[in-house]
Symmetry: D2
Subunit: 144 residues, 4 copies
């Protein structure tokens, strides 16, 4: 029942170019696109102490940013370069404190319509089988 995802409709070069349209705050996350397919993206947030919150774990907003960006890439993988696709809603459950390592987000579209896309995102600390967060999000796709 595992769905098959075709090849990405957005190139690595386009995604690199796209990041230059983000301000330095988002660039500073250093997201790397480990895998991009049509409707699926695996994105890495490199571990960095500057994301810590009281208690010494990665702050929730860094995980929310990772989930949101991963869904964006999965969507662009499915529809091609569309910078003005925007998040309309996001729901996240934080499940356990992540280990002190890179976080990996696996984002998959569960619906792709003409105007809206819905996806879910599983975030794990690298090397850990259990999820540290799970999210769903809806994106609005601009008319083309």
């Amino acid at each position: 029942m595992e769905p098959a995802f075709g090849p990405s409709k957005v190139s690595a070069a386009e995604l690199t170019q796209l990041m230059t349209d983000f301000g330095p705050f988002v660039q500073a996350y250093g997201f790397t696109n480990d895998q991009v397919l049509a409707g699926r993206a695996v994105v890495r947030l490199p571990y960095a102490a500057h994301h810590l919150r009281p208690g010494g774990t990665i702050a929730g907003p860094a995980m929310m940013a990772l989930a949101d960006y991963s869904m964006y890439v999965a969507l662009l993988g499915a529809i091609g370069m569309t910078p003005l696709a925007v998040t309309t809603s996001l729901n996240i459950n934080f499940l356990q404190k992540p280990s002190d390592t890179d976080l990996i987000c696996d984002a998959r579209l569960i619906k792709l319509g003409r105007r809206l896309a819905v996806g879910d995102m599983a975030i794990r600390a690298e090397g850990d089988a259990d999820l540290c967060a799970h999210a769903t999000a809806t994106y609005s796709i601009p008319p083309r």
Copy 2:
């Protein structure tokens, strides 16, 4: 029916001190606590071009960070200094693109239990009556 909120149980000095337990990434948002009461906080995200995303508006993750932090302050206002209170879930709807100005988040607890708190958060661009985002979140309160 507007609920009354009593005085904050966390001091401005404690909140300033708390921010030093966050890494520089969160500190860089420059959140200011415009008002803190027991169960309510009004927090400002100063406008900065480094938060922009393609299309030239503030990136969604900056608004999610603002919502999450505002709820944290509203909760600490109600229960006093409790750094290890953590978000367990957050749901956000993005309603319109914000203007190029500071964002103001008004966070209010709608339930305060012994172990869990739930709040809602309204985000507006300063001077705009309409919401640009609305969120709800649940926090887990550690045993004291």
Copy 3:
């Protein structure tokens, strides 16, 4: 800051007629529209033992149905008779067990666009100041 809501654009007779387009399962809730304005509806779910779940309290799905229907009425109050408006997402937090009495849901639009509306819903047991549930929902408005 409490928003003002104008008069309803849907009549009581239209809402009564609309209910006949629902199957008997939804009709059986016996929802009554205590107040309908443009973008706001106060709807009552009469207490009935047939909604109980293990533990003897009203089942969550009855509260979800109440929240969803109340938002539908608030939206029709704002845009007039539009039976094919449909829910696209709903998020609910259950805050405490309700008392054994009618439940009252206060639904308010927080955004009304041309194609989408977003609202929040506060559910209380009648006579109780505290919420027993809080929800947000998004509706899709069909082209007119």
Copy 4:
């Protein structure tokens, strides 16, 4: 990466007995437990015209009830008979109108803690590969 689910810790007889603790309104859904494992349940909502809403499709609340009940069964499959486990939050996206046939919900736990469980639920019309709704929910597990 598909997780394996062990045998259910709740028996079919216990689930049948449990349903008698629900009021007739919930019983009337006629849910059938097609498969129950430890942390996974596949539950069927038999098609019935009394669930229709304007437009002639199954009302959203019937799908919310199906998602919520399926998660309850998946959880009981994992922890054994625990009637007082209760939903604390549920988030659902409605993805497309279902066909006029039974609805099948596949609920899986994505986290099982001592006090909280989180799961996701995929709802399809029988025989349809695409989802008609997707939900996530959190349950509170009473002390045992």
